[in-house]
Structures are given as structure tokens and as C-alpha cells.
Symmetry: C2
Subunit: 203 residues, 2 copies
């Protein structure tokens, strides 16, 4: 009988926390995240990912502007993270007007690298779709041809007890995922691939 | 003076090879790739990623159909890989008609996990945009609401000497990336973040 192999700890140990410590990020650690991101693959090696960040101490005005572009439900906890990030997609190939269909996808690949490197460094990154793209474009001066994709918080884990009760509960809830049988098919759509399922949650 | 931190080896050692060994993939290894993929984060934990694969020995007809949907330039070398993969994005939230704007992005996050896990297992994954989405939809019976994103080869590294000369040259060429100054900005678009640049190639 086949036994499930262990998923690498960089993937297993990642969590989208809302409990951030105020501890600042060393510049070396921040740089390592972007180094990891840029070694992702992309179509024609176009590297359509861009990153704009604001460190609360180093770029305080930009940090507040980015914070203001977040949805209120995110601001509540995100304001404690030492760094805010905007991921950006370049929507055309090179200097042409040829659409880069996989721009957002490849930003996802690069961001996946960033998440893994963050876990390696003991950092927590929480990706957020809840923000105003228009505000982000305006406050960070994004040029035409570039689209905001996601915002994120980056920092060290803080004290869960400082969170409001509803958010505290989410921190300690197990991570849940669909079983493999719902997301992987062999040879044809709907044809289940694996007889042994992995865990669907962390408990 | 700040020194660049090392990027994790799972990211550093990844390569998009074209030189595949015919050695089959153990089912456990294949499963571990998808296990890694499905622990990626996604908006509202929607998990919009789907994967359809064909193993050359286990699903020979589907394998040939997937191979036939690849662009000719990819078929030349992809035909030696033991497994072909199609990544798929679910374009709406749950059973609603609400568009999932980040579907392709989140498929990228999941695929990023898959790449890292593959590197951990000594496997090589080459993502390919060069394929016929229409053929893939038809031969793998994708339902409405799902879009093909990328195809990929998965397998062990083979002998580079068996490749045609033009492809051989690409195997030994260094991986090249834009410098950090072109992809990361602090506080505002165009504002360079780091004074120390990482390596822009592998030589």
C-alpha cells in the first residue's frame, strides 16, 4: 500500500497569519525574499513580476498610503506588520503591445518563491486581494501597462492574544484543503488519480 | 556593507530542462508534487487549481493526446518525459458566476509549490505556454468554467548529449534574470530599493 510522502517543510509550515510582531525586518531578509522571487520561471524569460514595498520605518508615508488602500478588515491587523508589499504584473511582452497572457500567473510563480523563502527565514507573509487597486496605482505611481495583483504583509509572528476574538479563532483553526481527488485527474477530467489521499486538514 | 543572503536551494537549483530520462515516475513522487501544490494559499481558500496529468505508461492514450496538443518545438524534447501535465484554472468562485480574478495567479502559486517539491525530489519540471488550449480542452474533456493555463513535462534529468545542438546550447547556458533594481521598488515606482545587487546570472 502506497504511503503519502511528506511535503517539504517550507510548504508545510507556511501560514497566512494575522498576528504580527512589530519587530522590523532586516534589509538582508527583505532582499532575500525578492532574490527568491526573481528566480522563478516565466514565458520567454520575460519576468513580468514587479514588487513595490514600504517598510514602516524606512518609507513611513508610503506605508501609510499602502495601508489606506487596504480593505478595512485587513487594516485592523495589517497595520502591525513592519512591511507592506504590492505585487505587480507587467501586461505586455518587452516594449511591444503583445499581451502577456500569463502575466498574473507568473507573478504567482514568483510570489510562490517569495513565500517559500519567507518561511525559510521565519517570516510570515499574508497575501490579500482586499485592497483598492486604484488607490495603489495612484499612491505608488504605477505606470500604464502594469496591474496591481495582490497586496501582502511581511513580518515576524506576534502574539495571537492581541488579536480580536474572531481573528484569534482563525489563527488557531486548522488549514483545510480539498482532497486530491477533487483537484488532480489522470488522463481525463474526473478520473481520480490517487487511491491514498493526503490529509485534508492539519489537525 | 550588506551581503546578499543565499536563496534557498529548492529555488536556486530549479531548472527548466529539456533533457529528460525515460525513467518512470514513482506514483508516490507524483502524488507528493500535487500534495505540495494544494497547500498553496488562495483567495477565500477557493483553491482554483486543477491538474490533469498523463503518465506515459499508465495513461498512454492520454499521454499521446497531450503530446499532440504541444507546439512542435516542444514535442521534440517533451516526448521523452515520463509525465505530461496540464494546469487548469477554475474561473468562478464556488458554484457562483462570480469571476475569480486571481484564478490564474493562484494556479501560479500552487504550481510554484509543485516546482519546489519537484526540486526536493530530484525531479525536473518544464512549464510550457506553447500548446493548443482547444486541443487540450477537447482531449482531456475540460468542462465549462475551467481554463487551461500551462502544460508541463515532469521527469528525471537525462543525457544532454541526446538533444539537438541548438537545444543542447540552451541547457548549458546560465540562467539569467533582471537585476533587483529593475523589479523591486521601495515606497514608489522607480525608487530603487537595494544598493547591493544579487547575481544576474549563474556563471
Amino acid at each position: 500500500m502506497m504511503e503519502a510522502m511528506q511535503v517539504h517543510e517550507l510548504i508545510r509550515n507556511r501560514r497566512s497569519t494575522r498576528a504580527y510582531s512589530e519587530k522590523p525586518l532586516p534589509a538582508e531578509a527583505l532582499q532575500a525574499l525578492f532574490e527568491a522571487a526573481r528566480w522563478a520561471p516565466s514565458a520567454m524569460n520575460e519576468q513580468p513580476w514587479r514588487f513595490v514595498y514600504a517598510d514602516k520605518e524606512q518609507q513611513p508615508e508610503a506605508y501609510q498610503a499602502m495601508l489606506a488602500s487596504l480593505a478595512e478588515g485587513n487594516r485592523i491587523w495589517a497595520q502591525h506588520a513592519p512591511v507592506l508589499l504590492l505585487t505587480v504584473a507587467k501586461m505586455n511582452f518587452g516594449d511591444t503591445e503583445n499581451a502577456y497572457a500569463h502575466a498574473w500567473h507568473d507573478v504567482g510563480l514568483a510570489t510562490g518563491n517569495l513565500l517559500a523563502q519567507a518561511t525559510e527565514l521565519g517570516l510570515y507573509v499574508h497575501l490579500m486581494g482586499g485592497f483598492s487597486a486604484a488607490k495603489a496605482i495612484e499612491s505608488l505611481h504605477l505606470p500604464a501597462g502594469y496591474q496591481p495583483v495582490l497586496m501582502a504583509t511581511i513580518g515576524y509572528l506576534g502574539d495571537i492574544e492581541q488579536l480580536p476574538d474572531n481573528l484569534k479563532a482563525r489563527e488557531v483553526a486548522p488549514r483545510i484543503r480539498k482532497p486530491l481527488s477533487e483537484v488532480v485527474y489522470a488522463g481525463s477530467w474526473g478520473n481520480n488519480a490517487f487511491t491514498i489521499e493526503g490529509k485534508t486538514n492539519e489537525q
